[in-house]
């Protein structure tokens, strides 16, 4: 079930973003957070507790809505616009470090 509920402004072109490999339908002008939470109820797993998270402040202050691009760039889902063809990961991609020991 979705967490967010659309209350208007639905007459916008549809776009598709990919989240963890699966297509997610969104509307042009949606933030990533709105795109994700209109499809599901959570954004990510907390690193510090058992619970899942769905953002908190929506104004770029709390950093609770981090998601990642496939190349590892961190994005705030609340302040990043969804765009067609985007490929988003909801957990941080594994960093690989050269082992020179």
């Amino acid at each position: 079930m979705s967490r967010f509920v659309r209350l208007g402004e639905t007459d916008r072109p549809a776009i598709t973003v990919h989240v963890d490999g699966a297509p997610v339908g969104a509307l042009e002008g949606d933030t990533l957070m709105v795109a994700l939470l209109n499809q599901g109820s959570v954004l990510r797993q907390s690193e510090f507790g058992p619970e899942k998270r769905a953002g908190f402040c929506l104004m770029g202050a709390c950093q609770d809505c981090w998601v990642w691009t496939e190349s590892g760039d961190r994005l705030r889902a609340c302040s990043t616009l969804a765009a067609s063809g985007q490929r988003i990961l909801t957990s941080q991609p594994e960093a690989s470090w050269p082992n020179n020991a």
């Binding site: 967490r3 509920v5 002008g29 507790g49 998270r53 953002g55």
Partner: protein, 461 residues
């Protein structure tokens, strides 16, 4: 030979009501300021603009403040070619006489002759057991969802906390067609009666508040005053499922919901003033440490000016006046001619709004005692899941009674939000536990970067 005089370098941080009016004053004086804005568009949080392809009219978006919002946006549109506007730009430090900025791809350090900090506010939060569950949002965040994205934060929403924003956002949700289950206000109704003399300083805003409450009741929304929030009940996977609270009459009650918007009015974003080394003073009215400023907005540091809610929470109308006033003060200090009469009248306006703000603080008091009553298993720091009991244990073990020392040992205030949402409650908890006045706990020092930076920033674009 004509003397060539460089135009003064004025930097404004923030493009909300204070920053926009400050920029306008600069342009009118023939100065082209740099306006640094973290937002994608001007307006700040209160007059945040919706994306270009949204079509809701001003009246629908901003209600009673539609005229002010539109006037501010139009002013900004008219200024655009006369200012150096840099949206989506984070100011992450102020050091060495320079403002350090970062955007997605570009970093810069900009020297200045005058710096106007119009940094705005974030929600003031009192943690409630279970507030880590998905579906708990800050009150301001719930408003952003509606205003800038036309969504509700849930199917059945409870508004819990206190302050004018609680009623405003709840009624905006009702009007937009969201299902608002209840408004739970921690302030007793009697507090509002006591605050009336101060609130009458700005009768139109007082009247707006009265009509909001009536509108909510007419719409069938349960409005409870004088409640004590007890728990946000939820599940680790699916999030919020109910809110438990004690009514003013003392009975416990659960309300089923899938979203909670919580907040106790606002707190100023003072980190940049701190990094600029502005002196702070304890403000007993709000129980917060605030940057000092004179009646025009001059901080304790020469060339640094403070305006709007980023200095002290006085509201959007006051921010327009204090933003313009601080800019005029800066221009006067730079030796430019300014209208002294206008400055006097702006000072009067700011004073009137300050009286109203004192009324609001009385009408919707910060429930400081709730911090000390947080159960040991309640999460205090939402970022890293540190509980109230963890902080109490650290205090017993280490004797830490000062905010930064307690933070170092407990990590409360050290997470991603850098203490924005737990810091004030943590200070109250420490004060109660150590049995010392809140001002002795001190304040969390601002740390650069004031928000996390991304790694992929070059300085050569």
């Amino acid at each position: 030979m004509a003397e060539q005089r460089m135009s003064p370098r004025v930097i404004i941080v923030g493009a909300g009501p204070a920053g926009t009016r400050a920029a306008q004053a600069c342009v009118q004086a023939g100065v082209r300021p740099i306006l640094l804005d973290e937002g994608r568009r001007d307006g700040g949080q209160i007059y945040r603009r919706q994306p270009d392809n949204f079509t809701r009219p001003y009246a629908k978006l901003y209600g009673s403040e539609a005229g002010r919002a539109q006037a501010l946006h139009e002013t900004f549109n008219g200024l655009k070619s006369a200012i150096d506007y840099r949206p989506e730009t984070l100011v992450w430090n102020i050091a060495g006489g320079q403002v350090w900025t970062a955007s997605a791809t570009y970093a810069d350090a900009i020297p200045f002759d005058a710096l106007l900090l119009c940094t705005g506010a974030t929600d003031r939060l009192m943690p409630v057991k279970g507030w880590q569950f998905a579906g708990s949002y800050s009150l301001g965040g719930s408003q952003v969802a509606l205003k800038s994205q036309a969504v509700s934060i849930g199917h059945n929403v409870v508004f819990m906390g206190s302050g004018p924003l609680l009623y405003l956002v709840a009624s905006q949700y009702v009007e937009a067609g969201a299902n608002v289950v209840a408004v739970l206000d921690t302030a007793p109704y009697s507090a509002r009666i006591k605050a009336l003399p101060d609130l009458l300083a700005v009768p139109s805003v007082l009247w707006n508040g009265v009509t909001l409450t009536m509108k909510l009741k007419r719409a069938g929304v349960a409005v409870h005053n004088g409640v004590t929030p007890l728990e946000i009940i939820g599940n680790a996977d699916s999030g919020v499922s109910a809110v438990r609270f004690r009514t003013g009459a003392g009975t416990e009650q659960d309300i089923v919901c899938d979203a909670v918007a919580m907040g106790h009015h606002l707190r100023p974003e003072t980190q940049l003033a701190d990094l600029a080394r502005c002196a702070f003073a304890f403000d007993p009215g709000t129980r917060q440490w605030l940057p000092e400023r004179d009646s025009d907005g001059r901080s304790s540091v020469a060339g640094v000016y403070l305006a709007g809610d980023g200095a002290k929470i006085l509201g959007a109308r006051s921010a327009e006046a204090s933003g313009r006033l601080a800019a005029l003060a800066a221009l006067a200090d730079l030796g430019l001619p300014v209208d002294k009469g206008e400055m006097t009248s702006l000072r009067g306006d700011v004073g009137t709004y300050a009286k109203f703000a004192r009324g609001l603080a009385k009408a919707f008091p910060w429930p400081s005692h709730q911090a000390s009553q947080l159960p040991d298993d309640a999460i205090l720091c939402r970022c890293e899941g540190v509980t109230a009991g963890d902080l109490r244990g650290i205090m017993r073990q280490t004797g830490a009674k000062e905010a930064n020392r307690a933070k170092a040992f407990s990590r409360v205030g050290m997470g991603r939000c850098q203490g924005r949402y737990c810091g004030l409650a943590a200070a109250e908890l420490i004060a109660a536990e150590a049995d010392i006045p809140i001002e002795q706990v001190g304040r969390l020092r601002g740390q650069a970067p004031v928000k996390p930076l991304t790694i992929a920033i070059g300085d050569d674009q």
